[in-house]
């Protein structure tokens, strides 16, 4: 029961979904949609597990007065503020509309945090390229050159530097060529490889060959 049933569920669902791709007739046509709805429902239940875990871990820190415990307390407080505001003070289903308390928290707290975190990448891109783009090996040199040309080609400076050359050698054209030709080729090789890797992983899962996700016993 503990392992057989899950394996049967996985195999059935997987095979049905592969077939639905080729069978237009009902119910196969809509199964895709139904299953993805179910997935979302399960995910929405599961977030209870995640949220409780977050509170448990943070709560433990506070309770045992571990190092930095006040921050753990702050995690718990902000979580409950958001949840209580979302469920009780923001008009139910249309909680995301402009003007609700939830959307105010979103706009003034969540959004600046997420945008700034994202923007940190501007700095990290700088430090990563300074450190990593060194012509240590032939491969690294190729990587470096491609990055160099594309970077310069993306700003007007690149063209200014190469304006004395014939048009097709202008930096922006070289950058476009790199993007369109060798970059596309590499992307495609990666994509086709991924497709095959996905196919065989999926197949192993459907056939129950790969079953570590089910745990032991």
């Amino acid at each position: 029961m503990k392992r057989e049933v899950p394996l049967i569920i996985c195999a059935t669902v997987g095979i049905v979904l592969i077939f639905q791709y080729f069978i237009p007739a009902e119910p196969f046509g809509t199964l895709n949609q139904v299953f993805s709805d179910w997935f979302q429902v399960i995910g929405a239940f599961a977030i209870w597990l995640g949220a409780l875990n977050l509170i448990k871990v943070s709560g433990n820190n506070v309770y045992k007065k571990r190092k930095d415990w006040p921050y753990s307390l702050l995690i718990i407080i902000s979580f409950f503020v958001m949840v209580i505001v979302g469920f009780f003070f923001s008009g139910g289903r249309r909680f995301q509309d402009q003007g609700t308390a939830f959307s105010a928290l979103y706009d003034y707290v969540y959004s600046p945090l997420t945008s700034m975190m994202f923007a940190l990448l501007a700095f990290y891109v700088g430090s990563a390229s300074y450190r990593a783009f060194r012509a240590r090996t032939k491969e690294a040199t190729v990587l470096l050159l491609a990055a160099f040309f594309v970077m310069l080609g993306r700003v007007p400076l690149g063209d200014t530097l190469t304006s004395w050359l014939p048009n097709w050698l202008h930096m922006s054209n070289i950058a476009n060529w790199i993007m369109n030709i060798p970059n596309t080729a590499g992307q495609r090789a990666i994509m086709i490889g991924i497709a095959l890797g996905t196919v065989s992983t999926s197949l192993r899962l459907i056939l129950g060959i790969e079953r570590s996700y089910l745990g032991g016993e």
């Binding site: 179910w38 979302q40 979302g86």
Partner: protein, 232 residues
């Protein structure tokens, strides 16, 4: 934007920014608020965007509690006496509840059923989807732009470029060939493939730099223009 809101936003922004210097209490506050608020945000969103419309609406629970006017499976079954496909969403509800049984020490194993369902769905969908869009579509795209022999431009730039792409794809795929040692012809081809991959990585990286800079521009624009009013 309200002034208070802008100030809160600006202070939190600076909190995150301060991490670049080093880890500090200011960042820790911003981080803790971020973790709590975002976990709460997703908790609420998933309820309203998944649980409510996908499960409770379909089953008719929302109507039962007067939160909606649309009939669900319960209404069609008991009021109209008809079977509706929405009733199948009971299965989804059951699988969801099985997930929660994990909270009880002895019930962990039952959550493997919904897990198996999810893994099965993912495998089934990705199997064909990736084959179609990642493998077939890319092979077709690699071949379809070749100019046919005898047509004008057969020996032109287009075909040369197409040939470069073809060489790149074939050699790149060779690099991903696992069950043969990479030496001799295979090794040489795989080597060419590695160079193509390196160009791809370099180019993608270089291309991305711009985008990351613009994110920072957006944030600094917020700080200088909206918060401090230093620029128009």
């Amino acid at each position: 934007m309200s002034t208070l809101g802008v100030w809160v936003g600006a202070i939190l922004t600076l909190g995150i920014l301060s991490f670049l210097y080093k880890d500090n209490p200011f960042y820790k506050v911003a981080e803790a608020i971020f973790l709590g608020i975002s976990a709460g945000y997703w908790f609420v969103s998933l309820f309203y965007q998944s649980l409510l419309p996908k499960l409770f609406d379909n089953l008719g629970l929302t109507k039962l509690f007067g939160a909606s006017n649309t009939d669900g499976a319960l209404q069609t079954l008991f009021v109209q006496g008809k079977f509706s496909g929405q009733l199948w969403y009971l299965v989804a509800g059951a699988l969801g509840v099985m997930m929660l049984i994990r909270l009880f020490p002895k019930g962990g194993w039952i959550s493997r059923w919904p897990l198996a369902f999810i893994v099965g769905t993912t495998s089934g969908l990705y199997f064909t989807r990736y084959l179609a869009s990642n493998a077939y579509a890319q092979i077709s795209a690699t071949l379809k732009d070749f100019v046919v022999a005898g047509h004008p431009g057969f020996l032109g730039w287009t075909n040369l470029n197409n040939l470069v792409v073809l060489v790149g794809v074939v050699s790149g795929l060779t690099y991903f060939y696992f069950s043969k040692e990479h030496k001799g012809t295979v090794g040489a081809t795989a080597k060419v493939g590695v160079y193509f991959l390196m160009v791809t990585f370099g180019a993608s990286f270089g291309y991305t730099v711009m985008s990351r800079m613009s994110l920072l521009i957006g944030r600094l624009d917020f700080l200088y223009r909206i918060w401090l009013g230093l620029i128009k």
